[in-house]
């Protein structure tokens, strides 16, 4: 059955994300919270995370572009991103944020610029896998809906 093959693909993808450290245990918590009554929960949370992250990354880029960097504003945004990534289980992004905050504390511009690049890199890497994940999920859902009709 096609849905089974898709499920296997999805599981494989998620497992590899765990193995690579892109995701941590918190993501499993989210999966546990998804059930029959809330089939779209993980997708919703992942989508929210991506929207929120991109908004923050845009602001961070602007702030870092300033001649005189406002480190407290930068830190506030990184703190938000760290929180969201922690809540969704985005381990590498979270770790990159922790590093970034270190540099903020030291008012280290070069360090911050590098740290922002690492955060972006980790985020976009995660996002493309999330996109594949959500595509697979919605294809599986479509099959299961057809089955029920």
């Amino acid at each position: 059955m096609a849905a089974t093959a898709l499920r296997e693909q999805l599981n494989g993808l998620v497992n590899s994300m765990f193995a690579e450290g892109l995701l941590d245990q918190q993501f499993q918590q989210l999966q546990m919270l998804q059930d029959g009554s809330t089939p779209g929960f993980v997708a919703e949370v992942v989508t929210l995370f991506c929207e929120d992250s991109e908004r923050i990354l845009t602001e961070l880029t602007k702030l870092m572009d300033q001649a005189l960097v406002d480190y407290s504003k930068v830190d506030a945004y990184v703190h938000q991103l760290k929180g969201s990534s922690s809540s969704v289980g985005a381990q590498n992004v979270k770790l990159a944020c922790i590093q970034f905050r270190q540099f903020c504390e030291e008012n280290n511009k070069e360090g911050c610029v590098r740290a922002l690049n690492v955060v972006k890199h980790e985020y976009y890497r995660l996002r493309s896998k999330f996109e594949t994940m959500l595509q697979l999920e919605s294809r599986i859902q479509a099959y299961e809906n057809k089955q029920q009709n």
């Binding site: 918190q26 989210l30 919270l33 809330t38 929960f41 949370v45 995370f49 760290k82 922690s86 809540s87």
Partner: protein, 192 residues
């Protein structure tokens, strides 16, 4: 006479400025069979609880008449922190018995102690887990017990025929009549 016990639905007010975290805590609470209301700031929480800025002692009933059995709030929020919210709740005569739990992504012992000293029941480290939800019930029940005790004290005082302190009685009468007219949606087991 047989009394039918209905499953008591407790309502939790969750406060967090982060949308993702609000979604998460809502799902955690609903999965654990709580009714949930989420707000994105301390000031909105106070509004919901019926405590306006003038600190009027209105009962903890929101505009849509729901009783709040527990408040769970993030610590780090702009404008009003979870700690500030906690203080306001504990300073309010009408709200002080509502249990408050603080959540934070940072494990700062001095912060935790400060909150506990101010009357927070517990401190959850974020990300909050499903297993943390089990720790809420005892605090809710303790809050309800305190509430019931307060009501009993008021009723006893009203029942005593001789009461030297007429001022005190007047104040309590006001509060009792307010308590009685306030619609209560939580079901409690009344043994007749």
């Amino acid at each position: 006479m047989a009394v039918v016990a209905t499953e008591t639905q407790y309502r939790v007010l969750a406060v967090d400025d982060n949308l993702l975290d609000r979604k998460l805590i809502e799902r955690l609470l609903k999965t654990s069979s709580y009714q949930v209301t989420t707000v994105d700031s301390g000031s909105k929480a106070l509004q919901f609880l019926g405590l306006q800025d003038d600190q009027s002692n209105s009962p903890p009933v929101s505009s849509d008449q729901h009783v709040i059995n527990l408040v769970i709030t993030d610590y780090c929020m702009p404008e009003m922190t979870g700690y500030d919210l906690l203080k306001r709740i504990k300073e309010s005569s009408s709200l002080k018995d509502i249990p408050v739990v603080i959540m934070s992504s940072e494990n700062v012992p001095s912060r935790i102690n400060r909150c506990l000293e101010e009357g927070a029941e517990e401190f959850f480290l974020k990300p909050v887990q499903l297993s943390d939800m089990k720790r809420l019930k005892p605090h809710i029940l303790k809050g309800k017990y305190k509430e019931q005790q307060q009501q009993e004290v008021l009723q006893n005082n009203n029942n005593t025929s001789s009461n030297n302190n007429s001022n005190k009685r007047k104040a309590m009468d006001d509060e009792t009549s307010r308590e009685m007219t306030r619609p209560r949606l939580t079901s409690s087991l009344t043994v007749l």
